[in-house]
Every structure is written in C-alpha cells, then in structure tokens.
Symmetry: C2
Subunit: 234 residues, 2 copies
C-alpha cells in the first residue's frame, strides 16, 4: 500500500528532499499498524527498510542472557529508526517494540540508502543524530558505573531532562519499570527513589510528563556533589 506523500512531507529527516523524490518514495513505501507490546523490528533481522514512526511510541530494547529486558532508547512520532542496519548492511542490532499502539512507515533500503548520502542536508541530520546517540549511550554507560541507585536515577533523569527558562521537564517520562531496566535496578528501587524525590519536592508527575522542580538537586546528586542518601539497595 503506497503512503500519501503528505505523510512523508511531514517527516523531519525527509523535509529537504525535492517533491519529485518524495513522490517516488511515497509510491514505494508501506505502512503498518502495531498493537501495544508488538515487535516492530526483530533483533537479527535484515535491515530491509528505513522506518518512520507516524503515531504512537516505540522503544529499542534488548534482553540479557537471563531474560531481563534492557531499555535502550525511545522512538517518538516523526523519528526514524532501523537506520543502523540500513547504513552498515549488518542485521538489526536490537528489538524495537511498541510501547503504545503505533503506525509505522517502511521505506525500502535500496531506495533510501543512496538518497541519504547524496543530499548533504540529510547526511548532516543522519550524522548529527548518530552522534547524539553515541553521546547518549556513552552517558548511559557512565551511569551504570555508579554504585548508588539514587545517583543512577538522578543521572538518568538529568540525561533526559529538557530545561526551559522557567521550568524543566522530562517529556513522555518512562515508567518506573522502564527506568529500572535502563539503569540496571529493580522496579521497587526506582519506586522508592521516586517516593524520596517527590517527598522532597524535587519532581512531580504531570500526565505523561515529569516536571522537575529542583534541577539543582538532580544535578548535584547526579554529579556526586550532593551525597545520594536514601534507599541504597540495588
């Protein structure tokens, strides 16, 4: 099923492409809906398509040998994913699953790959996003070296926090379970840390978001300037 060109027009990565190219891509794309928890990309599958999330929310996940789920990153509407396998020609490195009901557009690899590198603007967006992912993963690697789970939670929140002039937010905040698998802790520990943070007025849930009322507290604990007292069990 071809995808309306209007849908592709609204994807940030493809925004700079000529209309004739977009029209051609639209003809060759396909779209699919996924239920909550459904697997969108299998780990180890061929990177046959560059994927775009149109609606919903996805998460890149992997599993440890003892079956524990490890959360790696989130995909939000407008984002592309599956790019790693499309670019380097190896298999899909992790599972991508639907956190909520989602719609995904698939652009065949052989069609999109030459376009990615032939347009300086696309290459720049692609490289910048990959760079940010390396940054994010290196940051998360650093968090896992921290011994205290309060510090790990604060460091992870700092990594996800967007600071506006008069407020700070973690948009689409992960659940305690999702946060737990990101930082190698139990769900119970994360819940205890959140009870501590909320009782001290540091954070407050607001719908899908988390409002951070005391960014200094988060930063000081994350950096080790403030001792991370509170629940110590990992």
């Amino acid at each position: 099923m071809p995808v309306p060109q209007l849908v592709l027009n609204q994807l940030p990565l493809l925004a700079g492409l000529p209309q004739v190219t977009l029209a051609h891509l639209a003809q060759q794309c396909s779209e699919r809906a996924f239920a909550k928890r459904e697997v969108v990309l299998q780990k180890g599958s061929e990177g046959g398509a560059l994927c775009f999330l149109i609606e919903g929310r996805l998460q890149g996940v992997d599993f440890t040998v003892d079956g524990r789920e490890v959360g790696l990153y989130f995909v939000n509407p407008g984002d592309y994913f599956g790019d790693i396998a499309v670019i380097d020609g190896e298999t899909q490195p992790v599972y991508v699953t639907a956190v909520s009901r989602s719609r995904v557009v698939f652009v065949p690899r052989d069609l999109i790959r030459p376009i990615l590198f032939a347009h300086a603007k696309l290459a720049e967006v692609l490289c910048t996003s990959l760079s940010q992912r390396v940054r994010q993963l290196s940051g998360q690697r650093r968090i896992l070296g921290m011994v205290n789970p309060v510090q790990r939670v604060c460091a992870q929140l700092e990594l996800m926090m967007v600071v506006a002039p008069d407020s700070a937010w973690v948009r689409n905040a992960p659940t305690h379970q999702e946060l737990a698998i990101m930082i190698n802790a139990s769900r119970e520990t994360v819940t205890r840390v959140f009870q501590l943070l909320q009782s001290r007025g540091v954070v407050e849930r607001s719908g899908n978001d988390l409002r951070v009322d005391n960014t200094d507290f988060i930063r000081d604990v994350a950096s080790g300037r403030k001792p991370a007292d509170g629940p110590a069990a990992a």
Copy 2:
C-alpha cells in the same frame, strides 16, 4: 605547522577526496606528538578539530564520580576521532588519552565539516562508522547487565574478536586493567578469569594480540549456553 599531503593521502576517511582539496587541507592542518598517558582531547572542550591518529594508540575514557576510569573505545593508526563534537557542535563528550607515544593530525572544524557532508563517499564512511559505534556501545551496555564476571569477560572478547578461516584473534588486546574498566570489574577478577581461560586452552597471548583457540567456548559462555563457572567475585 602544515602537514605533508602524503600523510593525509594515506588516511582512509580522506582517501576519496580530490588532490586539490587534500592539498588545501594539508596547508591548514597541524600535527602534535603526545607522550604515553597524555590527554589528547579534554572532555568538555570545544570540538575545534577533526583528529587523525598517525602513529601510536589512544583510548576514549571517562571517569565515574568516585574517580574510577571507564574505558570506552580504542583509536588505532589511520583512525579519526573527535568527530562527535565536530558533527553536532557540542563539546567533546569524553577524554581521549594516549595509551602509547602517539602522533596526531588536527584538521580545523570549519574547514572539514562542510567537506564531510558534501561528498557522498565520506558521508557514507562517517555514518557507517557511527553506526558501528552505536552497535558497539549497545553491545557493551548489554554486557554490563550480566551478573557473572566470567560471562562479562567472554562477551567482551566476543565483541572484539576477529574470526579468520583458520584462527581467531583479538588484535592489540587490551590489558587486564583496560578490560576491567570496560566491563565494570576489578583488575584482579579479570586476571583470575584469564588464568581460567588459559588453563583450559581457550586463549593464548601472542605479543600484542590474543589468539582465541576455542571460539565456541567464548561464544557459549557469552551467550549463557555454557554456565560461567569459575571466579564469581566482581
């Protein structure tokens, strides 16, 4: 000090550029020697240049808040580094230090950045390498979720192992100390695991390299198919 064009000619990333571009770059580059353990790039510094290792060996490292060193990746002769900050315009994400005496060429950011995206071949090399780093970091993230240090060592060796038809090698194998900081273990634990692996004829040091004589053992322990008995203390 300008750098001989011959030096740039031999760098894989720049190999496809026209000679006139290389001649221009050579005029604007600078070269510097670094002693063992010297810091080549400071974390948090401006990404003022794309860097190429001409001779020696470097390591990307970070430090946990309690001062423990965390090893992230190695840089070998011919490799470029410092690309993350050059690409996304933020500061250098980690320290890069000299593992041995090294020579580095610096190409100014404003000069090289437009060239990276304007040449499809360069953009492709850049994207492919960033993709592989995301892959590597995700793999390492997975290793850190493993409880048993024998399994963590085997999984890290599997990640670094290059398998030829009649032999398997980890080239320029990290020291026990370097391996320890990669996998969040103590140096003593890594040494005990290596004693175990050597006594079973699984691996053997050969100069700077590590020869893997039993790749199945490494893979089976890494994947959890074989129980990772042996030293259990992390």
